[in-house]
Amino acid sequence: MMRRDIVLTNRLGLHARAASKLVQTASAHNSSVWLERGERRVNAKSIMGVLLLAAPLGTELVLETDGDDEEAAMNALVALVEDRFGEGE
């Protein structure tokens, strides 16, 4: 199991388009992927779960991956967040 703190730096936070990309990336891996925001913990392979986090710009989240490809999953997801979900500035 791996855990990593991340901060949303894209302008819109986890809005529909970003959430879709996150879920698609998470779903491409075998490991289970979880996102935590404060008390709330959701399955990162659930589009509605991720949207229900309602995480705007600057939100601090914890990303957790667990499974045979947990490292690859973590790297892919962190890269996506650091790339601001491909939104540019």
Binding site: A16, K45, S46, I47, M48, G49, L51, L52, A54
Partner: protein, 579 residues
Amino acid sequence: MSLVLTGIGVTSGIAIGEVHRLTPGELALPEYHLDADAIEAELERIHRAIDRSRKFLGSLLDKMGESGGETARELLESHRLILRDPLLVDATCERISSERINAEWALVKQTNQLLAEFKRLDDDYIALRREDLEQAVNLVQRELADQPATLIGAQVPHQLDHTVVVAAELGPAEMAILHQRRVAGLVTEHGGPMSHSAILARSLEIPMVVGLHHALDVLVEGESVILDGHYGAVMAAHDESLQRHYEDKRELSLRRRVDLRRYLGRPSRTVDGLTFRLFGNAELPEEFQRCRDDGVAGIGLMRTEYLFMGDQVPDEETQYRAYRAAAEVMDGRPLTIRTLDAGGDKLPPALAVTQGPNPALGLRGLRLSLSVTDLFRQQIRAILRASQFGPVQILLPMITSIDEIRQARRLIEECRQSLQAEGTTIDPDLAIGGMIETPAAALTVEQLADELDFMSIGTNDLIQYVLAIDRQDELVSYLYDPTHPGVLRLIQRIVETGRQRKLPVTVCGELAGDAHAARLLLGLGVTDFSMPPASLPAVKKSLIEASAARCRKQVTRFLDNPAHHNTGQDLLETLNSKP
């Protein structure tokens, strides 16, 4: 702290239950409970349906290729993600197994829960478009409909005894289904107290509040509410003491209703031995059934407007089926079918072009029928054909002159002859009556009576036209007084004319269904009353316990005293005080 919302109460009952926000088309979906051994098959069924829906989306995406544009692709992708989402898929399966309900129903429940959760999110953050979830789920519902369940064991249909249904508007078909499912109460955002669904709710005795703006936004799925139809109030977030208060109140009114129903079995005779007859007003199959069960003498008023409320004018066959079904349910008792009484406040969309500057005085009722004779012929043919299945009579609405009656009679005779030529024999003596509801008709009733086989007094319109008051207009509605001597004299005159000519006269307006006003009508000489089935018990009790002679004396004294100091309200009180 409780939250009280107010609209317009249309039935006096009380409902206590959980909110269910009705989604359009939802009632067409089957809802039933499963036997334990049917659950496995149902889970397979929903997995197959979701699978096929996902493949369908995939094939759309493939076909679209690069040409579709990014927005369209994203939309389809998001639908595909939704159909893979454990919050939808796993949770729906969980509902099927734990609640033992069919796939369609489980899917609706889970979808509603998710929509409610999204609704609670900050408005500024539009996380998920409601339509995305709904569209994705609709795909699955379509697949489920294509592959109906092969049922193992019994289906127990879902009952709504503890549910208050909230909707934008409700149509007659939806009302019928909700009634069958024994819904506890109804709330709609639109509609007035005289709207179609309100009239139905009254007659089916479903507590209902209409015109509750933003009800769908404010009331949360699954929250417990109290609906007080008398005050038009819906209370959410209430405390236990309020709930107990209303439970007691509901219990009391139910008991009172059961007590009143005992009168239905008693002979229709006043204490001084005058025989009266009670008829029902009905339009839906449930209402006819109800009227028959309650022992009415017949149907005094079958309105036909609801058949015309869709986007299309119903053809002869559709109308024939509705009239025939009513005649069959009534099983030999007279059935009075009123021809289309559109116009005024109730104009079918299909006929909206006929709306003039003042609808109440415009092309409405029989005038409208005589101006679109093809439509009228269609309706008459349907009624005549249905008359082979029971004693049917035709009632013409909104007449003002003899000429209109003659025109209508001519058209009816033409239809009878053309049916005869087609080999369908219709009784040439089929009764044709007229609604006396305009001052002109009431003041010339002696002449009109020569052309009619029976008469019916529509008190709602008569009062409105005589007093020149639109009751929907809240600035003058306080002047709407059914006991105005001008109104009473006209009713008396119509009834007296009927008595002299031996023509039956029925009162079928709202006044006839009012237990207090029933004695006023009795005092005016009325013996035939027609009303929604829900009013039958209370009116019957009021009449059985009345003395007709005493009522007549009191009403006559009221009318004969020109400088009367008594108001109509005093008269009603005297009439209804114990002898």
